[in-house]
């Protein structure tokens, strides 16, 4: 009863109000059209294939399979370091997989081909259906079938009457009003001694289906077009530093094709402080960091305001959203040359290597020394010593920080113009002066302390940044926040289309589309009423709906005094009733 395959074919509708479906749809007309010879014929045939249900289905399944490699191999767009790592671990098969775009799956030609074909099929399928549906929306419900009995959901009721001819017409009038109130579109078909109303409802089902598919196209287009106008930049800010929203001031920047140089809104932002709390020792989740907050001062159009950037709570400035991506320590390091002249002084962001914030950083002294100098440093906020003598960090917060440095001298390789990461020291062409493999020990510093550089090169100082009068070291080292500045005006539209798709989906799946007929025939002292329902697509509640209609109609007839219920001794049981309810299906 929930399928419309049991359709009646003995009726010809003036306008076919059924939704238009591809020919291989389960309710389709099943006409196998042989392609006519000739180019156009073949083209038409090909288009039909592309826009068939089977093609859509297969493309969907292929899309699902094609998306999987992206979850197995690291993707450049999401995890570029992971890709480098993978390449290092598997140098032999990396080039092969890379040429297959296994590390850029979602940008690859083959992945794009699949979804573009799918959406072409979608558009080709949906356009004729829209045209058809617009027509169906204006059509009248179809003529009442001659033999309602043949329908699965059929009920018959006999009522007595003193004026059967008039009452038959009146009872259909009442049914017509009743159906109209239930949201049906109704049409009268009276002929001779029979009166009938034909009713149809559920046009929203097809509307929802079309809305859903169109909204998917909307999502795809807004994502594609929106990306061209979006930009995302990263910037690491140490406490006290200020950032100006210009292309130059970003550490890195990805911008869409249509983002011009002058597209950035002018504003500036200073990182005043960075908050973080750690779960204390001995408690569950000990050492876990949380409640991160980058507290900033913003200047925009001459206005100054403060704000904070937190996880889950981006800060909105001038159409941009600022996100907190990461944080860490930025020890302030001063290097002096043999003459005592300061050749380097900066708070250097060190990249955290583990959850206890063991951090790795690099100092590059380009001028003022006999040779360029590179310092490779480790920072431990809460220093612990292993049996081997090696340091580790036991906790993420600053309790007894230590900075260790190894010194390299030579050519930093930054003069050739090749871009170098500030976090990486390329030691080829440099001489290691301290640490393992040399006979000079690595430099170890605690806040406020100074050590000599090897070979009488000068000194290096780990500055103590504690505010005046501090009694412990909890503020002795500055922190940095790694911020992402993101601009994408299209994301709202993506959301709008996604929600439209969701709404359309609910309509398409839950609105029942059905036809209902009520027919009255008068004969002598009575009126024979027949009711029948026909599902158009999935409709599990049709039977109950017809029962409700019958009961409601009886009530209305009684209230209006049109005909009277016949004493229930004869066949008040509907002829085509359900099989007797057994233990198993309580509700169908």
């Amino acid at each position: 009863m929930s399928s419309s395959r049991s359709d009646l074919n003995d009726q010809k509708d003036p306008v076919d109000t059924d939704p238009l479906r591809p020919s291989d749809h389960i309710d389709g007309d099943d006409t196998i059209v042989q392609p006519k010879l000739g180019f156009v014929g073949w083209l038409r045939w090909g288009w039909r294939q592309l826009t068939s249900m089977r093609t859509a289905l297969i493309l969907l399944l292929v899309l699902a399979i094609a998306a999987i490699p992206g979850s197995i191999f690291p993707q450049r767009m999401a995890d570029p370091n992971g890709v480098t790592q993978w390449e290092r671990n598997n140098p032999d098969i990396f080039p092969v997989l890379d040429s297959l775009k296994m590390f850029d799956v979602y940008l690859s030609p083959w992945f794009s081909a699949i979804y573009l074909l799918l959406f072409t099929s979608l558009v080709g399928c949906v356009i004729p259906r829209i045209k058809h549906h617009l027509k169906a929306l204006q059509a009248r419900p179809p003529r009442t079938p001659a033999r309602l009995k043949r329908l699965a959901d059929f009920r018959a009721v006999e009522r007595t009457s003193t004026d059967a001819a008039a009452d038959a017409a009146a009872s259909i009038d009442i049914a017509q009003k009743q159906l109209k109130a239930l949201g049906y579109r109704v049409e009268r078909y009276d002929a001779g001694r029979t009166f009938s109303v034909s009713a149809e409802r559920g046009y929203w089902r097809e509307t929802g289906n079309l809305l859903f598919h169109i909204a998917l196209v909307g999502v795809l287009i807004t994502v594609g077009v929106g990306g061209g106008f979006a930009y995302t930049g990263q910037r690491v800010l140490v406490e006290g530093e200020t950032f100006a929203n210009t292309l130059l001031d970003y550490d890195s920047m990805n911008r869409g094709r249509f983002v011009g140089d002058g597209a950035l809104t002018p504003y500036s932002m200073r990182l005043d402080s960075f908050d973080v709390t750690y779960q204390p020792f001995g408690e569950p989740g000990s050492g876990q960091a949380g409640d991160f907050s980058a507290n900033v001062t913003l200047k925009e159009n001459g206005d100054t305001r403060t704000g904070s950037v937190k996880v889950n709570h981006p800060l909105e400035v001038g159409g941009d959203r600022i996100y907190l991506l990461g944080n860490g320590y930025a020890p302030t390091i001063t290097v002096r040359n043999a003459d005592g002249k300061v050749v380097f002084k900066n708070s250097v962001p060190f990249l955290p290597q583990d959850t206890s914030m063991t951090s790795l950083g690099v100092v590059k002294v380009t001028d003022g020394m006999p040779e360029q100098l590179g310092l490779l440093g480790f920072f431990y906020p809460t220093t612990g010593v292993l049996d081997t003598g090696a340091f580790f960090s036991a906790y993420g917060d600053l309790t007894n920080p230590t900075l260790t440095l190894d010194v390299y001298s030579g050519d930093l390789g930054i003069n050739e113009g090749t871009p170098r990461s500030v976090y990486v020291l390329d030691t080829t062409g440099m001489t290691k002066l301290t640490g393992r493999t040399t006979d000079v020990e690595s430099i170890k510093l605690t806040p406020g302390k100074t050590a000599d550089l090897p070979n009488g090169l000068g000194t290096v100082t780990f500055e103590d940044e504690s505010p005046a009068g501090a009694t412990d070291l909890t503020h002795s080292v500055k922190r940095f926040a790694s911020l992402q500045i993101h601009h994408d005006a299209s994301s709202v539209w993506v959301l709008v289309f996604a929600l439209l798709a969701l709404g359309g989906l609910m309509l398409a799946l839950f609105v029942p589309r059905r036809r209902v007929w009520v027919k009255a025939t008068h004969s002598g002292d009575g009126v024979a009423l027949e009711y029948a329902g026909l599902a158009r697509g999935e409709d599990p509640t049709l039977g109950a709906a017809v029962d409700d209609l019958v009961a409601g109609h009886a009530r209305l007839l009684d209230a209006a005094g049109v005909t009277a219920a016949r004493e229930a001794e004869d066949e008040s049981e509907p002829p085509a009733s359900e099989p007797p309810a057994s233990d198993t299906p309580k509700v169908d």
């Binding site: 749809h25 949380g290 509700v587």
Partner: protein, 326 residues
Amino acid sequence: MLELTVISPVLLWTAIAIYAASFVAYAFDLARRSQATADAKTVREGELVGVGARGGAPTVTATGAAADPAPQRFVMARIGTSLTILAWVFHLAAVVTRSIAAGRVPWANLYEFAMIGTLLIVLVYLVVLTRIDLRYLGTFITGLVVVLLGLAATNFYVAVTPLMDPLKSIWLIIHVFVASLATAFFALAFALSVIQLMQARRERLVREEAAKTGPGFLRTLPGSDRLESLAYRFTIIGFILWTFTLIAGSIWAQDAWGRYWGFDVKETWTFVIWVVYAGYIHARATRGWRGNPSAWLSIVGFASVMFNFTIVNVFFKGLHAYSGLS
């Protein structure tokens, strides 16, 4: 709240034990059904066996014995259901105590996802039972729940710890809950699809007048058409919830990670599952794909859901590193 953190696992193990008992009861029920139909068969030797296409009344359509006067009473199934309800109460208590101990919603790590997910599976099953008799799914439901909860309690258990920053969001409550609810519907649909395949096979064997037609309990179940349409109804509810999960997750990702979609491992699998079920819905509307092929898609869909939930959570590296395991 140290006591609660002790009580919660105890309640959970109690629930697991009772679920196991109800599994046994349901298994006996299926065995009894097979036995009963075997007896009935010897009695009505030679009687025509008609396969109801509509499956409106399973006992009747499956045996063709419309005149069978004694209504079937599935005593073991009743015991199974009563035990399931009891187990569910303990299960709920375990979840609630965990939630109170943690001072937040009880679905923030893999252990808790497993607890809430199975709780919802059983809840949906019990609620549906009040309207449709699906007790023949009892063995599957309780079996699945025992396995998942056992796995969670032994391998995924983690002590209550404070939430990581990205999880401190209203979307944790909405997104994860709706995803779990969708999973519950998919689980029921999956079970129905499996039985649908078995039933379709039996119907084919009956048509071919084969000597053996597979497990006897199938005779007491609805026909494959009806099983399919039930599976479909659960799937579309699950699919809508999953679509919502996808959208809610993107909104959350936009806030937490600065982009609404990035093909993170978990995002990818959520998408794959969505597309598979879209395929299933299409398959049911495509000539030549309704019936067995679409049932297989439902099975593939649920297998992906389980894969996403276990393997992806535990072994794949990505931003969704919230299993709480290290």
